[in-house]
Symmetry: C2
Subunit: 180 residues, 2 copies
């Protein structure tokens, strides 16, 4: 599933412009599926070329035409097929964990900073999801509620793990070396 398919999915919730979808990507989808204008606009053009969406040009003064996209029945069929993947992936790419693997090469102040910043980012995402949840929860389908809760659960687990295990990087003194 690529940005195109996710855009298509978002359009099932109603017609929208690329700009609108970007806000969606920043808020609701931000923590698990990032996308910038550089992928959204070309995605919408390509969907339009293939007849999976239609595009209405709404003139505005002083601004470029607002282009409002709407999903077609072909688009809906395409989306439904894409959703048939029985084992969609969930990938993590973590420079944070890669860095921590080599923590023994770093000064401890540096390690502490990295850990502090990670906790801070957890707080940031947590607030983000809670805000969105508070404002949209009522009109969300169960899937969206599941996804928001998922995000919160994972961020919470991350924060707690980091807080409870950062001590591993301090006293390397008198560990009983225990293997198990």
């Amino acid at each position: 599933m690529d940005v195109r398919t996710v855009c298509l999915g978002m359009l099932t919730d109603g017609a929208a412009s690329g700009y609108d979808l970007k806000k969606n990507f920043e808020s609701t989808f931000g923590h698990f599926f990032a996308a910038g204008y550089g992928s959204i606009y070309p995605a919408l053009s390509s969907l339009c070329d293939q007849g999976l969406v239609t595009c209405e040009h709404i003139p505005q003064d002083g601004k470029p035409d607002r282009k409002v996209y709407e999903i077609t029945s072909d688009g809906m069929a395409f989306l439904l097929t894409a959703l048939e993947n029985p084992a969609p992936c969930h990938k993590v790419r973590s420079e944070f964990l890669a860095t921590m693997c080599f923590a023994h090469l770093m000064p401890s102040a540096q390690i502490e900073t990295v850990l502090d910043n990670r906790i801070e980012e957890c707080a940031h995402y947590m607030k983000m999801i809670s805000d969105i949840e508070a404002s949209c929860m009522h009109d969300w389908p169960p899937g969206m509620r599941f996804v928001a809760g998922f995000g919160k659960a994972m961020i919470d687990a991350m924060k707690i793990y980091v807080e409870e295990n950062r001590h591993l990087f301090r006293e390397e003194t008198h560990t009983t070396t225990a293997t198990g």
Copy 2:
């Protein structure tokens, strides 16, 4: 931080071939930093060109020369600089969550399958990390232990969340609609 830097980091643990590093990527680093031969071999060549690693050609019969790479002091300096990033990212790209966002468009049997497969993959990763942990824990620096524990904590949180919230996709009957 890219594959090159991670390869360089792995070489601080001792000289190794591209093939050796791949096994490392599959096991220990697999759940948060994937890489295939197509990125590892070019990465090692480029590191060699820049003098960040040296390469020893060890002839073998019936097989291509085994090329064993070793980190240089320049390489070490480069790595240390790369590790100075105070806020290394931790990115998630989840087709799973994207799919769940549109669950209301899917037949419920399909949703169940996706959820079952996710739980299965959790079990797979959990086993993988536990196995590696069991065999290497003793000679691991604290960072590696932190990372393995992190992986387990996250996978556990994921599995529990999915199990405890999949009911959201069943009875849509008589929810009291409560917002908060």
